[in-house]
C-alpha cells in the first residue's frame, strides 16, 4: 500500500512562498505547521509575524495572526496572551528582529516566563534587506555591511541567544537546532513540538533557535550553504537543549491538548 509521504500540513494555505531557492524558512514553516496540526491547536492558535523575510508568514498559515513592528513580536505576543491565556501564542522571528532591535523584548518576555513560544530562525544575516550584518553574523563573515568580513574589534561579537536566555529563571524550554540535514530537521521538529507542549502545559516561555541557510545572500548554491551551516555555524552555535523544565519529570507522560494553559504566575 502506498501513501503520499509529502502532503501539505492542514494549517498551511496553498499559497506559493516568496522565499528564495534553498531558504530554510520553508522547512521551518512546515515544522511549525505540522506541530500545530499534530497538537490539534489550529483553531486556538494566534501567531505573531515579525519584520524580516518571514513577515509574510501569514500568507502561508491558515490561522489567526498579528503582524508586529520590528523586534516587538514578544511584546505583541504578551499582549495577546494576557488577554487570551487559554490560546496558544507563538512568534516567528529572524535574527535581526529578535537579537538586535528586539533584544529587550525577547529578554524580558523570557525573564517574565511569558507563556508563549518563540521560533527563532538564525541565518546569520539580514535577509530581507539584502544580506547585511546581523547580531548573529559570524566573526570574519562577509556581508554587505561587513564587506571585508566581520571584524569583531569594530563590529563586536555575535550573540548566542539560547545560551543568553538560559541565564534567566523564566524560560521553561530553550533549544538550538539546525536544518542542515534530514536528521537535524527531524530533531528540530521534536524541539519545536516540545516548545509548544511547554506552553500547552502552562510552563512558561519556550524558544527554539533554528540555524538556517540563506544561499542567496551568502552567494552560495543551496547545498553548499547547508554545508556552511554545518561547518561554520554549528561550531559557533552549538546544538542542544539549554533548558528543559520537563526533564526532571521526563518519565511522566506529556498530556497534549490540555484545555488550560494559564500563565504560571499571577498577572
Amino acid at each position: 500500500m502506498s501513501r503520499n509521504a509529502f502532503v501539505r500540513p492542514a494549517c498551511m494555505t496553498s499559497a506559493r512562498t516568496h522565499y528564495c531557492p534553498g531558504c530554510g524558512h520553508g522547512i521551518a514553516h512546515r515544522l511549525v505547521a505540522e506541530t500545530i496540526d499534530e497538537l490539534e491547536i489550529r483553531e486556538r492558535t494566534v501567531g505573531v509575524a515579525a519584520v524580516g523575510c518571514s513577515i509574510l508568514i501569514y500568507n502561508y498559515f491558515d490561522i489567526d495572526m498579528q503582524e508586529a513592528a520590528h523586534g516587538r513580536a514578544p511584546a505583541v505576543a504578551t499582549g495577546i496572551k494576557r488577554v487570551l491565556p487559554d490560546r496558544i501564542v507563538f512568534t516567528y522571528q529572524g535574527d535581526g528582529d529578535l537579537a538586535s532591535i528586539g533584544l529587550a523584548e525577547i529578554v524580558h518576555a523570557a525573564a517574565r516566563g511569558e507563556n508563549i513560544t518563540v521560533v527563532f530562525v538564525n541565518n546569520a544575516n539580514y535577509g530581507m534587506t539584502g544580506g547585511q550584518m546581523a547580531p548573529t553574523t559570524l566573526p570574519g563573515q562577509k556581508t554587505t555591511t561587513t564587506p571585508r568580513g566581520r571584524n569583531v574589534h569594530l563590529a563586536g561579537h555575535p550573540l548566542r541567544m539560547a545560551e543568553l536566555l538560559a541565564t534567566l529563571d523564566g524560560p521553561s524550554y530553550l533549544a538550538r537546532v539546525s536544518l542542515h540535514n534530514p536528521v537535524e530537521v527531524a530533531r528540530a521538529k521534536k524541539s519545536i513540538r516540545k516548545a509548544f507542549q511547554c506552553q500547552l502545559l502552562g510552563m512558561g516561555f519556550s524558544m527554539v533557535e533554528v540555524l538556517s541557510s540563506c544561499p542567496n545572500n551568502w552567494g552560495m548554491e543551496p547545498a553548499k550553504a547547508l554545508e556552511w551551516v554545518e561547518k561554520n555555524m554549528v561550531p559557533y552555535y552549538p546544538l542542544g537543549v539549554f533548558r528543559d523544565a520537563m526533564a526532571p519529570a521526563s518519565s511522566r507522560e506529556v498530556t497534549e491538548n490540555r484545555d488550560e494553559s494559564s500563565p504560571k504566575r499571577e498577572g
Binding site: E43, Y58, I63, A104
Partner: protein
C-alpha cells in the same frame, strides 16, 4: 457617590469602570499615580496590570491586547509618548482601539517634570510615521478626566482607533470632587479580533501593504474615517461668550485658569468670554467660528510657544489672533491673562 480624587487616579478609576481590564505601561513623572493606582485596583477586578520593560514594549503589548479583543490602555508623559509613537502609528493603521494618556510635562528632551502643553502638535498631527490622526481629548477638571476616559473608550471602539487623553502635570496631580458615570460604554463590534479561528476563516491584524494600490486604498479608508470624526466628534465649550468683545481660546489647565480671569475681567466690566476646545483633534473649528462671530478680538493662551493657536488661525482665516504663552513648566496665572486682556482692550479691541 461624590468622592475626592487626584486627576491621574480619576482617569485610572474611570477607565476601569469603563471596562478597561488591561494596562501596560512604564513609570514616568508626572503620570505615575495613574499606573500605581491600576497596579492596586486592576487585579481586584480580574484585570491585568503589567509593568513593561520599556515604553516601546508597553505600546506593542497594547497592540497585541487590543488585537486580541481586550479593552486596554497605557499612560505616559512626553519623553515616553515619543517612544510610543512607533506603536501608535501601527495601532492607527491596524485600526485597533485603545486609550493612551499623555500627562504632559515641559520639553523638549527630558525638559522638566513640571506641567506643559508642549505636546499639542505631536498629539494632534498623528505623531508617528505616515498619514493618520487620532482623536485627542483634553480635560479641564478632575470630573472631566473621568468623563473623557469613558468617552475615549467609546470613540476608540466605535471608530476602531487609538484615542489620546492629553492632559498635564497640574491636572494629573490636583484633587477635586467627582462623580463617576454609571455604566461602561457598550463594546463595539469586534468581528475583526484575532482570538483563534474557531468555526470561522482566519483573521489578520496587520499594517503592511506592499502593493501601492492596496496601501492607497487602505489610506483612503483611514482618511474617510478621519473625515467622519471631523464631521461628528468635535467637542467644545463656551463660557461667558454672550456679548463678548474679546474671546479667549484655551484648553486643559489653561482654560481653567482663563475661566477665573474671565470672571475677574467681567467683574471689572470687560466683555470677555472663553472658548475651550475639548477635542483637540478633531479641532472644533465650526463651533469656534460660531463663537467668534461678533467678537472683536481673539487671544489664545497656552503653556507652550503657540501650537493650538495655529488651529485657531486656520479656523478663522483673516482674523487677528493674539497669543500669550509660557513654557518650561511655568503655569500661567489668572493675573497674567487679565493683564494680556487689558492690553488688548487698551490697544482698542480690533
Amino acid at each position: 457617590m461624590r468622592q475626592m480624587m487626584k486627576g491621574n487616579e480619576a482617569i485610572a478609576e474611570a477607565a476601569m469602570r469603563a471596562g478597561c481590564r488591561f494596562f501596560f505601561g512604564y513609570p514616568i513623572t508626572p503620570q505615575t499615580e495613574l499606573m500605581e493606582y491600576l497596579a492596586r485596583r486592576l487585579p481586584e477586578v480580574g484585570g491585568t496590570f503589567l509593568q513593561a520593560e520599556s515604553e516601546v514594549a508597553a505600546i506593542n503589548m497594547v497592540y497585541g491586547a487590543a488585537g486580541a479583543g481586550g479593552r486596554v490602555m497605557t499612560s505616559s508623559s512626553g519623553p515616553g509618548i515619543c517612544l510610543k509613537q512607533e506603536g501608535i502609528s501601527f495601532l492607527a493603521s491596524a485600526e485597533l482601539p485603545c486609550l493612551i494618556v499623555n500627562v504632559m510635562r515641559g520639553g523638549p528632551g527630558l525638559g522638566t517634570i513640571q506641567p506643559s502643553q508642549g505636546d499639542y502638535f505631536q498629539a494632534t498631527r498623528g505623531g508617528g510615521n505616515g498619514d493618520y490622526y487620532l482623536p485627542v481629548l483634553s480635560p479641564s477638571s478632575v470630573q472631566e478626566m473621568a468623563d473623557l476616559a469613558y468617552k475615549a473608550f467609546e470613540l476608540a471602539e466605535r471608530y476602531r482607533t487609538p484615542v489620546m487623553l492629553l492632559t498635564d502635570g497640574v491636572m494629573g496631580q490636583m484633587m477635586e470632587p467627582l462623580d463617576f458615570p454609571d455604566s461602561p460604554p457598550v463594546p463595539g463590534e469586534k468581528s475583526w479580533i484575532t482570538d483563534g479561528c474557531k468555526n470561522r476563516s482566519r483573521r489578520l491584524v496587520k499594517t503592511l501593504y506592499l502593493d501601492p494600490a492596496d496601501l492607497e486604498a487602505h489610506n483612503r479608508h483611514l482618511q474617510e474615517k478621519f473625515e467622519q470624526l471631523r464631521a461628528s466628534e468635535t467637542m467644545s465649550e463656551t463660557y461667558a461668550a454672550d456679548g463678548a468683545e474679546l474671546l479667549i481660546v484655551a484648553f486643559g489647565i489653561c482654560a481653567r485658569v482663563a475661566r477665573t480671569a474671565v470672571d475677574n475681567l467681567r467683574a471689572e466690566g470687560f466683555p470677555v468670554g472663553l472658548f475651550r476646545p475639548i477635542s483637540l483633534w478633531p479641532f472644533p473649528a465650526a463651533s469656534l467660528q460660531n463663537a467668534a462671530e461678533g467678537v472683536k478680538s481673539l487671544l489664545a493662551v497656552e503653556l507652550n510657544a503657540g501650537q493650538m493657536v495655529e488651529d485657531v488661525r486656520m479656523a478663522l482665516p483673516g482674523r487677528k489672533v493674539d497669543f500669550y504663552g509660557r513654557m518650561g513648566g511655568v503655569v500661567i496665572s489668572a493675573t497674567e491673562i487679565e493683564a494680556e486682556a487689558r492690553k488688548v482692550f487698551a490697544g482698542g479691541v480690533s
